[in-house]
């Protein structure tokens, strides 16, 4: 369950300059509410200037983590540093950190302009008016500067909350599901906007979200969090292509997980036996060391469906592809850009397959006998000690 990858390789930020001076570092950060552990020994380094997404199901401790970074909650154990400065027990107003609250928390008695100027005035900053004007322009709020928050739409309020935080140019900007209340269209629009602002201003963003798509499109690094712990950490593509736990495999996108036993380990590729006894290949780097029982995983869109072969062979692998020759389509839904199949294997497991509609390919019907194939390099294996269903309902419940 340890994060598979540290901070070393990727997070150099949009400017491309690796810098340790302003990195946000959490060390064994823990928060307990009575007997309940909300955040459990978090170890994280978030590079200066990077866009970091914290992704996880409801109640996994995302908000609590942000609140500890902001100073609104005291950690039970652990340490928070920004660069060389330890800020674990500093008052919130002494930290170079600003938050965009999930509920916006705009000051109702102050105008948009006064809301945005609030932080600058408290720090007795020079040229408050010009800085505010600049940020209002960035967030396209110029025309609304004299309105009260109650006179704004949800999306406009969201932008005020954002403007109020970024105008201070904090070392770290915390965003707690800031787009949660918006409709899909506005949400996509704001995602683009947020990313643009982050790139333009070059701040460190820690963005909490339920929405895996949002995390994958926006973030340089994603941390998948579950029950107070980080399940996996990495660049979006890396996380998606090579999940480290069944939770990550199911929570981020969908996965087919097939129970298997390791048959042979070789330096470049290992073979594992599927329930029908057939051997499929898994690249050695994608097979955890020292275990015999595994879940063999493959993403639905990585599987191709073909006409069934004449003979019902067991599963096997040839020419860089793993094959499951004798399967039956149980459900087919045409989705426009793709067709989604449920296909039953000889060992009575239903696999999910998304096939792109490139035109010309046969569309199979329920009852058709088919064979499946997927590239060995898209195959991964996870320790079978884990629940294959972990993260599934959570993901579905959150839509």
């Amino acid at each position: 369950m340890r994060p598979r990858r540290g901070q070393d390789s990727s997070n150099t930020g949009p400017t491309g300059v690796a810098s340790a001076s302003g990195d946000l570092v959490l060390s064994s950060l823990t928060k307990r509410f009575g007997p309940f552990t909300a955040v459990d020994g978090l170890d994280l380094t978030i590079a200066q200037g990077s866009f970091f997404a914290l992704l996880g199901p409801s109640g996994c401790g995302k908000t609590t983590t942000l609140r500890m970074i902001a100073g609104l909650e005291q950690p039970t154990v652990g340490e928070i540093r920004i660069g060389e400065h330890e800020i674990t027990y500093d008052k919130p107003y002494r930290r170079p950190v600003n938050t965009v609250f999930q509920s916006y928390a705009l000051f109702p008695h102050l105008s948009v302009r006064e809301n945005v100027a609030f932080g600058l005035k408290r720090r007795r900053s020079d040229s408050v008016a010009s800085q505010v004007a600049e940020v209002l322009e960035l967030t396209e709020l110029q025309g609304l500067a004299d309105r009260k928050p109650a006179q704004l739409s949800g999306g406009q309020q969201q932008r005020v909350a954002l403007a109020r935080a970024i105008v201070n140019k904090p070392a770290v900007l915390l965003l707690d599901e800031p787009l949660g209340a918006l409709d899909l269209k506005l949400r996509r629009q704001m995602q683009v906007e947020l990313k643009r602002i982050q790139t333009e201003v070059g701040l460190t963003f820690v963005h909490v979200t339920h929405d895996q798509e949002e995390a994958m499109t926006m973030a340089d690094t994603i941390a998948v969090m579950n029950a107070g712990r980080i399940e996996q950490l990495g660049a979006p593509a890396e996380l998606y292509e090579l999940p480290a736990t069944t939770f990550a495999a199911n929570f981020l996108g969908q996965s087919n997980l097939i129970r298997a036993t390791v048959a042979q380990r070789q330096p470049d590729a290992a073979t594992v036996a599927l329930p029908d006894g057939g051997l499929v290949a898994v690249p050695s780097g994608r097979l955890p060391a020292g275990i015999a029982e595994v879940w063999v995983g493959v993403r639905p869109e990585k599987i191709s469906v073909h006409e069934a072969a004449d003979r019902a062979d067991p599963a096997g692998h040839t020419a860089g592809r793993n094959r499951i020759p004798a399967a039956v389509v149980t459900d087919a839904s045409f989705m426009g850009v793709s067709t989604q199949y449920l296909v039953r294997t000889p060992w009575q497991q239903e696999l999910m397959v998304f096939e792109q509609n490139r035109g010309g390919a046969t569309i199979f019907r329920p009852g058709d006998r088919v064979s499946l194939s997927f590239a060995t390099e898209h195959t991964f294996a996870l320790d079978a000690g884990q629940d294959a269903e972990a993260g599934i309902e959570l993901d579905e419940a959150l839509g």
Partner: protein
């Protein structure tokens, strides 16, 4: 309704008109029933005030200002001519102001303590703070009298003030506490997040947002103190006659027109204050 008649093409039968008109009149009444009721309610509410105003311009024969004789500005030109009245008025105002200030300050602090902190005896305090509101004034007045007498505290302004602060306090606490309860704690957290220390957060966020509650509590306290008769009467001496006591006492001896002058002035002041508040509110909302 008649316009439609006029626009009728020539030759249309006029026979249908009375029926239409009767129905229209009924409709008019039905549509305006809210206004009619509102006007009646307003008359009911304001008639006593109008009588007070009217009789402040009266020149009664004798001591009682109960029947209209003739118009006069005497009372308005000499408001303090009625012996003892202006002294009692100024005493009531002084007590009202001091009681309001003290009760509002204490009450606001108590409200914050009760709303924001968990401490030993909080539930008890919450309950006890309601007691003065629930106790009949006669009971409160007489028990205070017993207390003061048994403690040997001489009755007078001080005892009145103590009594007034005591019952005003509950009202202030209750109003301010309701306002604090409606305050989103995240606003204060957001302020702290935006570099405001504890004092700045209180001054810039908490206080302005709770202010309407404090103002309402203060107004309530002043009007309660200013017109309290029962509790005051128990705990006053002959040297500390408040305005309500004066009016009551005067009612037996005779009612000087000046009482109506004060009544009218208070009424006009109150209406003016409300109107100004509304005007300011409208201007503020129009500015944005």
């Amino acid at each position: 309704m008649t316009t439609t008649v006029g626009q009728r093409p020539a030759g249309a039968k006029p026979a249908t008109i009375p029926a239409r008109r009767r129905r229209s009149a009924w409709t008019v009444l039905r549509e305006n029933v809210v206004w009619v009721v509102a006007a009646l309610a307003l008359v009911y509410l304001l008639l006593p005030n109008l009588v007070v105003v009217l009789f402040s311009f009266n020149k009664p024969n004798g001591r009682f200002n109960y029947t209209w004789q003739r118009f006069s500005l005497d009372a308005w030109l000499h408001p303090c001519a009625a012996p003892g009245m202006c002294e009692s008025l100024s005493l009531s105002l002084k007590i009202g102001v001091v009681a309001t200030v003290v009760a509002t300050l204490l009450g606001t602090m108590i409200a914050f303590a009760l709303a924001r902190y968990r401490f030993h005896g909080r539930a008890g305090s919450n309950l006890l703070i309601f007691l003065p509101m629930a106790t009949p004034e006669v009971v409160m007045g007489s028990s205070l009298l017993t207390l003061f007498v048994s403690m040997g505290i001489p009755l007078g302004r001080v005892t009145i003030l103590i009594a007034h602060i005591m019952f005003c306090l509950s009202y202030v606490v209750v109003t301010v506490k309701a306002r604090i309860a409606g305050l989103d704690p995240r606003l204060e957290q957001a302020a702290a997040d935006l570099y405001a220390n504890e004092w700045q957060t209180f001054r810039r966020i908490t206080l302005p947002l709770v202010a309407p509650g404090i103002a309402a509590g203060a107004l309530l306290a002043f009007s309660l103190s200013f017109d309290d008769y029962i509790v005051t009467n128990f705990n006053a001496s002959n040297a500390s006659i408040t305005f309500p006591m004066y009016v009551w006492g005067a009612a037996a001896r005779g009612t000087p027109v000046q009482i109506n002058v004060i009544g009218t002035a208070m009424f006009v002041l109150a209406v003016l204050a409300v109107a100004l508040g509304q005007l300011a509110g409208r201007r503020r909302s129009r500015a944005h």
